[in-house]
Subunit: 350 residues, 2 copies
DNA sequence: CTGTTAGCGCTTTCAA
DNA sequence: TTGAAAGCGCTAACAG
């Protein structure tokens, strides 16, 4: 046994008394190798507990066995579900997932791409919302372009088309519109929106959808009906507190995500209001655990795991790669009316 | 501009009209470089959108800029929270997280270690429960040992001591014992346990703790009081259905995790029982979103993000590395009695 | 089918 | 300080 740090292919070859090339071939199965030699190599490798150095393999032009996933925050069930879908597909392709978290910081996101680029990930998946910011978009495009030139594949979820990448596009706007319309049909006339930072395209799309749906039904949503917080549970809680403090008369609160809705419901309860008796609340996404909430959250269901899985599949599938513009796969959400929403009461507080 | 795939350091050096070595030094700041040369290198790199090839860097003995995290399922909020903690620390050290999911399959877990070893991750974190299986343990130890010899660091969460790695050990047993005792003090005398596969050490420890706590109070927990399912929401649901089908007379259901408890509550409700009026239910972990459930889930709170953060910190901190046995950092959980548990009724169903 | 050899892109001695 | 050159461990021609 050597006092070297790692067992290398050379050690294996020497032990098996074959050449480096033969050892490599035996291990990778690229070319046929005489059976007894292959046996010798394999047992030598096992005996020495040999593990190939992935860096050397990658450098020698062998493989690119990793994919990068960039999300805002893995502890958000939305991203967790998407990432799970990615991991399933990655696993079935023998790929390792490198996970980068941006915590919704645009600069951090750029840095993540750069890191993943350095790692020569075979694909980069941008799963988080984009930021509505021309300068940022340009910088992102500039970061992505050389990556693509080097053979890297890019897929994005809900992003601006300007990135020209393969895109999985859940219909945030349409889903929000349909949800708002459903709430209007239920009888609601006074609405408030509890939402995240408007620079996030997902947020912007959903709010735009709410606005459209209501406008179509003749209800105007003014800026004073929109309460923004961080795009998480606490943001939903805080925004709802602000709504309460403003003595807003909404009978229905449209939250920009399930997670925000959970915060909203908690804030309403803390204020002594009950859902849906006093106020109806809706979410968006239909994330796993929230399905077991009582009252069941009315929401727009998105196939999150599938979104992750398809994003990676799209990125990995070279065949249909259009020359630059990127393919777009649209997914529609389904409005799920559950118990967190009800007909508004005749009379309300205030 | 070359028609090469990637911009390399050589391109940068040529553009800046310096040697490879100087370019490298200027970029890494390892040695002093004349200011004007450094400037030239930096601007050439920027101009060419140069990104170092991490594989080449790693191979040349430069850096190990990744850590591996192995978990059962990232969409489980328990692992998501731990991973978030890991990512925070990784980020502050400039490390990239490689995430591997085992879906609680022992063989898959072994394979993950091997992959991460190949990637020369600077540390491997085993965050999922171990499996109670001597043969598996031996194989895992055999996989880890050469990794360590090559300078790799290993840290584990809730594992068997036999792995001899740095360990973050939440007190599953003690927490479970305290929780069971608290439920006994509340007045419960008939208990059932809804749990995951007993081969998982976490599960085994928690069930053992429940058993101990109850035994100390004079209540025997027999095998017929324990209902096992998969260690997730559906497992909790299914196990509770089994409990119901067996007409078990428990007034208090102890679930092995919050996520299982969520499934348990849903199953009870579906059967027309209310929590806590008809049956009390407890969880374990105190995962984020479940905190907003109504009724609030009585549980044992574990600092999940901190567990992840400390696991990586421990692994990265060479200073206190004991010569082989591994350091152990114990963390105790806190019993949180909320509204999902109540005094048992005098009379019960059946 | 097997062995020899030339890199992959970078860091790091070692001289200058 | 700077540059030349020797690898890091592996794969993939290219000869045999």
């Amino acid at each position: 046994m050597s006092d070297r740090q790692h067992v290398t292919l050379e050690d294996v070859a020497r032990t098996a008394e074959v050449s480096l090339a033969t050892a490599s071939r035996a291990l990778n199965g690229t070319t046929r190798v005489r059976d007894d030699l292959r046996e010798r190599v394999l047992s030598a490798a096992a005996e020495l507990a040999y593990t190939p150095n992935a860096h050397a393999q990658a450098l020698a032009g062998g493989s690119r066995r990793t994919v990068g996933v960039i999300c805002h925050d893995i502890s958000d069930p939305y991203f967790a579900a998407i990432t799970r879908g990615v991991m399933r597909v990655a696993d079935s392709h023998g790929l390792l997932v490198m996970l980068a978290g941006t915590f919704a910081d645009p600069d951090r996101e750029l840095a993540c791409v750069s890191t993943l680029r350095a790692q020569r990930a075979s694909a980069i998946l941008l799963t988080g919302s984009a930021f509505e910011d021309r300068a940022w978009e340009r910088r992102m495009a500039a970061e992505l372009e050389p990556y693509r030139r080097g053979g890297g594949r890019v897929a994005v979820v809900t992003r601006h088309r300007s990135l020209k990448a393969d895109t999985i596009a859940p219909d945030n706007r349409g889903g929000a519109r349909a949800l708002a319309e459903a709430m209007h049909r239920l009888g609601h006339r006074r609405f408030a929106v509890v939402t995240g930072p408007p620079q996030l395209t997902t947020v912007a799309d959903r709010v735009a959808g709410f606005r459209e749906g209501l406008a179509g039904a003749g209800v105007e949503l003014s800026d004073r009906d929109v309460f923004a917080g961080s795009f998480d549970r606490d943001g939903g809680y805080d925004a709802t507190r602000a709504l309460l403090a403003a003595k807003h008369k909404a009978t229905c609160v449209l939250a920009a995500s399930d997670v925000m809705a959970v915060g909203a419901v908690s804030a309403l309860r803390a204020a002594g209001l009950s859902v849906p008796e006093d106020v109806s609340v809706t979410g968006f996404d239909d994330v796993p655990l929230v399905r077991d909430f009582v009252p069941g959250l009315t929401t727009v269901s998105l196939p999150l795991e599938r979104i992750g899985a398809e994003a990676l599949e799209l990125a990995l599938d070279e065949s249909g790669a259009t020359g630059g513009r990127g393919r777009v796969r649209r997914l529609s959400g389904e409005v799920l009316v559950r118990e967190s929403t009800a007909k508004p009461r005749r009379r309300r507080r205030g």
